[in-house]
């Protein structure tokens, strides 16, 4: 597809006989590029990972939104989908994986366990009650496990969030 046909391209494309030029803001172009090629880390601890695998597959097919390149190493990933319970023993590993990812990095907390401990909130001694105690989270998805549609929705929400980021302009308070 031609760049100018892509409707959400932020800016104006002016055609001239010798090629043409684009009029836009650098922030907008960077955000547009980043939000449409998020590479998730293949990180699954329990049940939600299976629903994440279903989302990869033909019926839901998250590659339509630019997520298809699953990376096994955090050093090549932009996004970590924490799918499944994080226990006290796993928490330092998750923090370490997050630290190894290059900036800019994003986190999706998938499932009830990552939000609050979920079914394992009461009467357990080993579950972290919400991964926001360990790493900053961009999008939370409720459900046990969430449906693939919910995961897709969260990804689109994350894209919307990325599109409003600023790199060169200082935020006005």
């Amino acid at each position: 597809m031609d760049v100018k046909d892509k409707m959400e391209f932020p800016g104006q494309v002016h055609e001239t006989p010798d090629g043409g030029f684009i009029l836009s803001k650098l922030d907008d172009i960077i955000n547009w590029a980043r939000s449409n090629s998020l590479w998730p880390l293949a990180f699954g601890t329990s049940c939600c990972a299976i629903e994440m695998m279903q989302t990869v597959n033909a019926k839901y097919d998250w590659s339509r939104f630019g997520f298809e390149v699953m990376r096994a190493t955090p050093r090549q990933a932009d996004l970590i989908i924490v799918s499944g319970t994080i226990t006290m023993k796993m928490a330092p590993v998750l923090k370490r994986l997050y630290d190894q990812m290059p900036d800019p990095k994003y986190v999706i907390a998938m499932g009830a366990c990552t939000i609050s401990g979920g079914p394992f909130f009461y009467n357990t001694y080993s579950v972290v009650k919400g991964i926001d105690h360990i790493i900053p989270v961009d999008v939370f998805i409720p459900g046990c496990p969430p449906r693939p549609e919910a995961l897709l929705h969260s990804m689109i929400t994350l894209q919307e969030k990325i599109k409003h980021e600023t790199y060169f302009k200082k935020e006005t308070k």
Binding site: E51, M53, N57, K59, P119, N123, S126, P145
Partner: protein, 372 residues
């Protein structure tokens, strides 16, 4: 311990950590591997990265509630995990389960077994370097998940069991939908053989690798397809029938090879047997009640109760000690994956590190079931 780096030890062996974040461990298992060149000298599994204290939680949940936590144990056999908990309560209370509930339970359990083996088929392809089996298997898995979604209300963790029967009746189009799913599975089954079973590279990765003898399988307590591939008759559906399996005609698949290829063949053949079981039942679902006669607040009599079922991975046992109250005094799960995992250090010794992936893929571990 956690941040232990890979290193050479005094004997010149390279000690490398596989996991807890590794795509082929299917979760958060950590294997510490001692290598001499590429040859495995020793493997040591480290557990507890997904220990969620389910057994301890059970002590504070009532007999109606504790069933649903077990869906998160072996999440691919969620329905069968629920079944064993319902069965142990029924056994203790001596409740008669209506025939209709039993038939629906078995149909859903066998569908769960098919979908679990399909996921195993998808992931073994992925682990050994083929991506297409992943898409083939998930096509059928998605159909089964949609069926579960319509009837149970959840795609993966069904929570459809109550002590004495099932939660609600199935939809009127249940039989037709199951037949559609089975037809899709049977029509597409030959594609699995074409893409993976007949592949020479794939066969070479599995044949003669990771041999588990029958004696070792007994010694390590292996069950399920892993042990049946070593020639051990251990199908709980045959040995200790439950929920009407004794009335059904099906074969217990065994093989004598004991290697990864035998485990592969056993699982592939088991899917066909599950189809056979469902086909016997689907036209003969009896009419009638779906829940037996149980009280709203269940109190188990004082004593100890044990019940076992055959999940997709082997024998799952639940052992409950009751003090006569509304919650269990102690609950212990005998999970198949824990016993199967204990065989890995033995059978991986002397193989190349690449073969460890084949061994782990064919033993088909679910880590939350090991740690619970």
């Amino acid at each position: 311990m956690l941040f232990e780096p890979d290193h050479y030890n005094e004997e010149g062996e390279f000690v490398v950590n596989m996991g807890p974040q590794h795509p082929s461990t299917h979760g958060v298992l950590r294997l510490k591997v001692w290598l001499d060149g590429e040859t495995i000298k020793k493997v040591e599994p480290h557990l507890g990265y997904i220990h969620r204290s389910i057994e301890k939680m059970t002590e504070s949940l009532s007999y109606r509630q504790f069933i649903y936590v077990t869906s998160r144990m072996d999440y691919l056999s969620a329905h069968i995990n629920n079944q064993v908990c319902a069965l142990v309560v029924e056994k203790a209370l001596q409740v008669e389960v209506p025939a209709r509930a039993q038939a629906i339970r078995v149909i859903l359990a066998e569908l769960t077994r098919i979908s679990s083996h399909l996921l195993w088929f998808a992931s073994i392809g992925l682990d050994l370097g083929g991506v297409t089996p992943f898409f083939y298997a998930f096509r059928e898995r998605e159909a089964i998940n949609s069926l579960m979604d319509e009837n149970c209300g959840a795609r993966l963790t069904q929570n459809f069991m109550v002590p004495g029967g099932i939660m609600k009746d199935v939809l009127p189009n249940f039989q037709q939908r199951v037949k559609e799913v089975l037809k899709q599975f049977k029509d597409n089954y030959h594609e699995y053989d074409e893409i993976l079973t007949g592949n020479v590279i794939f066969q070479n990765r599995l044949k003669g690798v990771g041999i588990l003898t029958k004696e070792d399988a007994i010694a390590f307590g292996c069950t399920g397809p892993t042990a049946r591939a070593s020639g051990l008759n251990c199908d709980i559906r045959k040995l200790y029938p439950y929920d009407g399996y004794e009335k059904l005609q099906f074969d217990e698949i065994t093989s004598t090879g004991g290697d990864c290829w035998a485990r592969y063949e056993v699982r592939m053949a088991e899917m066909k047997q599950s189809v056979k079981i469902i086909e016997q039942l689907i036209d003969n679902i009896p009419e009638g009640e779906i829940v037996g006669n149980t009280k709203k607040v269940i109190k188990l009599p004082k004593g100890e109760f044990y019940q076992r079922v055959e999940t997709a991975r082997g024998e799952l046992g639940v052992y409950i000690v009751s003090d006569g109250g509304t919650t269990p005094y102690r609950c212990k799960y005998r999970s198949p994956n824990f016993a199967n995992l204990s065989a890995i250090p033995h059978i991986a010794r002397g193989h190349k590190i690449g073969d460890l992936i084949s061994i782990m893929a064919t033993i088909d571990l679910i880590i939350p079931d090991i740690d619970r």
